[in-house]
Symmetry: C2
Subunit: 295 residues, 2 copies
């Protein structure tokens, strides 16, 4: 199956599961559930949860068995977008072509919707662990996702991101921000799918390398899109990063070097899967896909 067809099919599964996992809009207090659903069910590509499913398949597991964990990771990703967009942070008005959460529901509800999604994300990860072959594997995966989301990962990356405008620009810093803000959750996604499916330590180490490389490729491509993309495809104004004096890969290294680095990272990701057979083809396709989005 072509990668994009496979991604659409996985995204459909994930969207349906997310809809079932999120509390109904009418459950009181309704406004918070509306806010959660507004941001989660807004047509993302579902790349991270698809990687959870793909990693399960790569180690001989079944996608259906890790779907709750995939949803948990997507909710944690969505919480981070809502909080990053807040006026006190990046102060963004648009996301995926729609007004950001706080523009629709107000700041207080947006903060709480993020909190609730983060919380529900961990609940789903724990439920996924209960359904896994070994509950101990469930706990291990949850610890890894929490580390990827915490100050060593996403929160730490966001702190560096919002403070780097003040402290100045550096190649090492932009890589560190990318590794924490994006790379950590990509790594945790593939490892979670694999851990819950009973992967060996050797398989996990390979997926570690894969996740790091694919996360880097994705983030560089995202930075490039912000420079050369079309607003209609981006769902937000082009050039937002530069305007906010954000540290980006093309900003630090220039556009040609950024393109080369993204391609090299995608190749590294594919190379990391050398010991896997065709059951890892979805992961291989994903590595190409993240850079094909724009060049």
């Amino acid at each position: 199956m072509e990668f994009e067809t496979a991604l659409v099919s996985k995204a459909r599964l994930i969207d349906q599961a997310l809809d079932e996992c999120l509390p109904p809009e009418l459950a009181p207090p309704g406004v918070i559930h509306q806010a959660m659903r507004y941001s989660v069910l807004s047509g993302g590509k579902r790349l991270r949860p698809a990687l959870v499913l793909g990693a399960a398949e790569a180690v001989g597991g079944r996608a259906e068995n890790v779907i709750l964990a995939a949803c948990g990771i997507e909710l944690i990703h969505c919480y981070s977008l809502i909080h990053d967009d807040l006026p006190a942070m990046d102060n963004d008005d648009f996301r995926r072509g729609r007004p950001t959460n706080h523009k629709v529901f107000g700041e207080a509800i947006a903060i709480l919707a993020g909190d609730a999604l983060l919380t529900l994300g961990f609940e789903l990860l724990a439920r996924a662990g209960m359904a896994a072959a070994s509950p101990a594997a469930g706990l291990r995966a949850l610890v890894e996702v929490a580390q990827a989301a915490g100050t060593e990962g996403m929160v730490g990356g966001q702190v560096l991101d919002i403070t780097s405008q003040e402290v100045g620009v550096g190649a090492e810093l932009v890589e560190q921000i990318h590794r924490r803000k994006t790379g950590a959750l990509f790594v945790a996604s593939v490892r979670t799918g694999a851990i819950l499916s009973g992967a060996s330590e050797e398989q996990l180490a390979a997926l570690d390398d894969y996740g790091r490389a694919v996360g880097l490729a994705f983030q560089i491509a995202d930075d490039i899109l912000d420079v050369v993309g079309e607003a209609s495809k981006l769902g937000k104004p082009v050039g937002g990063d530069a305007q906010k004096r954000k540290l980006t890969y093309p900003g630090v290294f220039g556009l040609p070097a950024a393109r080369e680095r993204a391609k090299a990272a995608a190749a590294e990701a594919v190379a990391a899967l050398r010991k896997f057979g065709p059951e890892a083809d979805f992961l291989r396709g994903a590595a190409q896909f993240v850079i094909n989005r724009e060049f």
Copy 2:
């Protein structure tokens, strides 16, 4: 041992464990770790984590075995305080006698410090599960804490709290807010300590009743303190709830009825422990303590 001596001794254990669990201030990016430590290590009573330890003892477990879970629950409590205090929410300047987190570190870091504490809280709960007799029990406890923290619990209660100023006042609503904002985490605290220690379903049901009652008694007492307390003991200005037109128990029912209800709830909590022996004395003492703080 007198209850207050036992509480101080448990709080000391918990403070030491919290200090060890929180990332060092110098670990980059330092500012987020400073902000986390500022709010967590600010001399709270540590009532919720002490109840985790007390519940473990009540069912024949050992406090040392559930200390990580106790820390996890305290971090989740602390995150909720930081976010509740934000300008977009209650806009409070003081907490425990010190400037609130966003007054010291700014809004962005305060939001992220809350996010990081919530995340680390779940990590610690998962680690506690790994050390428990059964990893499945660890996952179960984590799910319960997540539900207590989510829209059925703390987040939902905060939503009702900040929107109730608009929709008007009602006895049923104030009880619902208290149950979600405070009661849910009290229940989850005692259940977590007990679940991780291998409690029976019968014991858990009794602790459920206990947790609900002691949480209600605590929250009514807290409301009363806001009316009749001394600012020096409160660590914040007296009368803040009334000024913000918050729904409170004495505000809805009057001070005498609120006092009676708190006493009755404390008695219900003690009654729920009737099948436990002296190993539940700490929990019994806690029920008295929460209302003795002020009348």
